[in-house]
């Protein structure tokens, strides 16, 4: 079965890309494609704790990330450089993500069949 990496590269809530990426990732996993997730660039903002998107009329899809383990999406990664640039502290992450260097991200991309960027 094919392996996919779904890349979250845009900020949550300001546009629908993150929510639609999550829908795609969960569906892919439910079709038994081995699915991993990478947060990079503004996508690392998905990892900020205590978000309240409902106050701007957005659905709180961040809460759905907690269900990923039930979809067998176990490999969650965050880009080390982006995490640093956006000041996202490792010790307060709401998800169990693994921090990857650019080099490790390249290796991961090389190990999957498709990389889908949202």
């Amino acid at each position: 079965m094919k392996k996919l990496c779904v890349v979250f590269s845009t900020s949550p809530h300001g546009n629908a890309a993150g929510r639609e990426a999550l829908d795609f990732a969960m569906l892919a996993a439910s079709y038994d494609l081995e699915t991993s997730i990478l947060f990079t660039d503004e996508g690392v903002l998905h990892l900020m704790a205590n978000q309240n998107p409902e106050s701007i009329g957005c659905r709180d899809y961040i809460a759905t990330f907690g269900a990923l383990e039930f979809y067998d999406i176990e490999n969650l990664y965050v880009c080390k450089d982006s995490q640093k640039e956006f000041g996202i502290e490792s010790d307060s992450l709401p998800l169990d993500v693994q921090v990857l260097t650019s080099e490790a991200i390249r290796e991961h991309f090389a190990s999957v069949n498709e990389v889908v960027v949202y």
Binding site: K2, A17, L27, L33
Partner: protein, 129 residues
């Protein structure tokens, strides 16, 4: 010969993504490859509007898709939930939802994300625009 599935996320007007996707599709077919399906997701679902009316000297991307589908028998699939959220509605859905208008005709069919995923599983390559 390779098989491709295309994902188009750029809207019909204001994004060059669909034009690039059309050109890729034509070039791939001319070269003997197969386009398994074109899947429209995110703002790409706006490509399915039969009501877009660009000026006569502008490229009509909707007609471009129509021709591709007709000439080469390429399946055009809209993600139904992305489409409905954005007001892209086929006749039957308009009737189900009690809406008085619809804007997606038979050249496109509304499907689920599963059609993207099963296409990825089957095709040699996914190409995103």
């Amino acid at each position: 010969m390779s098989t491709f599935i295309l994902q188009v996320s750029g809207k019909a007007y204001g994004s060059a993504a669909p034009v690039h996707a059309l050109r890729f599709a034509k070039a791939a077919i001319d070269d003997g490859h197969q386009i398994l399906r074109v899947f429209f997701y995110q703002d790409g679902v706006f490509n399915a509007s039969s009501l877009g009316s660009p000026a006569s000297d502008e490229f009509n991307v909707y007609q471009g898709w129509q021709q591709l589908a007709k000439l080469h028998n390429v399946e055009l699939v809209n993600c139904v939930s992305a489409a409905l959220r954005r007001g892209m509605v086929a006749k039957e859905e308009a009737e189900t939802q009690g809406l008085s208008h619809w804007n997606v005709d038979d050249h496109f069919h509304n499907g689920g994300l599963g059609e993207l995923v099963s296409g990825i599983a089957k095709a040699d390559r996914l190409i995103c625009f």
